[in-house]
Amino acid sequence: MQSEQMSLLSKSSPPVLLMRWARVIVRFARAKPLAAVGALIIVAALVAAIFAPIIVLSDPLKVDTSRILVPPGRDAPLGTDFLGRDVLSRIIYGARISLYVAVSSIAISLTAGALLGGVGAYFGSRIDMPIQRVMDAMMAFPSLVLALALMASLGPNLNNVVAAIAIVYTPRTARIIRSAVLAVKANQYTEAARAVGCSHVRILWRHIAPNCVAPAIVIATVNLGVAISIEGSLSFIGVGVPPPTPSWGNMVAGAAIEMAQKAPYLPLFPGIALTLTVLGFNLLGDALRDMLDPRLRTR
């Protein structure tokens, strides 16, 4: 009976596979409802970002002077801004910008952090010390301040934002990876592996790296949310993504006056979108942390 069932399942016809995944997801959702909500939000944001050109109602950049500051209604579910552009469409495109910035910058910082922290910790204090000094110096800045200074120098530009955030978060990532690597190093088996004659690369790849994956995932998820928040702040101040490209940060900046006068709801929506997205990443990050490594409780 068992084997029959097994063979049935192992044939993995699409409906069966789907049901299997559905069951896993439902179990996950019931076990950790908040994380499921978070994941849902992120998926929604991803969908919005990827399919943005298809799902928007109107061109987010097109200036339409005939419908300035229209309240939310049938044509424009979230209203139009001071140039007649549809707010909902701009928010959807804003998701694209925010996710692009977040994913790129965190990916870069993960790679750089893993290299700097991991390699430094592995090869011992001669290489580690100078790297750590530099990382400490970089961490002595509040992240926003360093990002601000970098953007002021590099100039407001989407890719500069990615670079700036990557630079700011590399030291923090490096520190986490470093402690994970040190924990592994403390175990005897790396020494044993060296004694047996394994090359450094092999040890790094087969023993060290797998142990770093868990903390890396956790830190990456949380940092994705933070990256989105920082990009928003930079765009708000004016040194981030420049208008007319819609970024949630510069949408709030551009709508502030309108709120005071005619359209109080205008700065509300981009901020809600930003909050929800960061929320999603936070929830997911928490759940992952609980699952993967409870030792990382202290943020």
Partner: protein
Amino acid sequence: MFAYVIRRLVLFVPVLLGVSLIIFLVMRIVPGDAAYATLAGRGGEGIVTKEALATMRQRLGLNKPYPQQYLDWVWGMARLDFGTSLTTRVPVWQEVTQRLPITIELAVLTALIATAVAVPVGTFSALHQDTPLDYILRIVTIIGLAAPTFWIGTLTIMALVRYFDWIPPLGFSSVLDDPWTNFQQIIWPAVGLGYHHVAVIARMTRSSMLEVLRQEYVRTAWAKGLRQRMVINRHALRNAMMPVVTLIGVQFAVLLGGTVIMESIFSIPGMGRALIEGIQLRDYTVVQGCVVIFALLILIVNLLVDLLYAWLDPRIGYGTS
């Protein structure tokens, strides 16, 4: 313990040097220098002629080679001379002494408000775990974690303008001269900024409290029949506070970053606003000075937190490590 403190203080120096070098280099990555900005202004209405530019460069010391500029600056810092603002010709040290207390007042007030609100909220949440009220509080909390500071600040001031036709008095009054005006000026940014930190601290308090409540000695206290309040106040709360204290220290850097934004939105003449204006006008000395001071503040707060932690938890002895 004393040796530990000295050792930590000594370690400030290389970190600050590193910070100074980083910010010095960052501010000079691209051309478009302070002399232009000083003459042209942010609105671009200023007039920039070649002669004026050359004289201005000379006056501001921008013609010297970079290593010399850096060394001059660092050597000056050792004597508390942070240079002169390139745009207002006021010594940066003077700006710092005028503006820093304002930012510190904002930061400390925010921290106090946040702690005062967050600890009871977190405790309450922990004690009534999984009740509807707990869920509501947790939802409000996690929103506060995610909501960006600039958004809260903008909504606050624009709501004040629209619904009350009022903004806080301009400028800044010291709390001793005119406490009511000072209160009006600082309470709004403090509350706006505090929301995020309330969320962080409340969350930590709740989870820390939950952990402590599960401990043996608490259950023993219950068993002994001590009243709930006594148990909480005398045993659980204090032990739960320790990670919270560390958290406040860690959050200080984030707090400083938040004051930068709030000062800009509410037009408060603190260090954060100096930083933003300096960045916009490419006033190197002001930006460098502010950043170094911020870094110093963070290092000091981290040290204080570590010491506080050691004081609170006698098991941790820094003297011997």
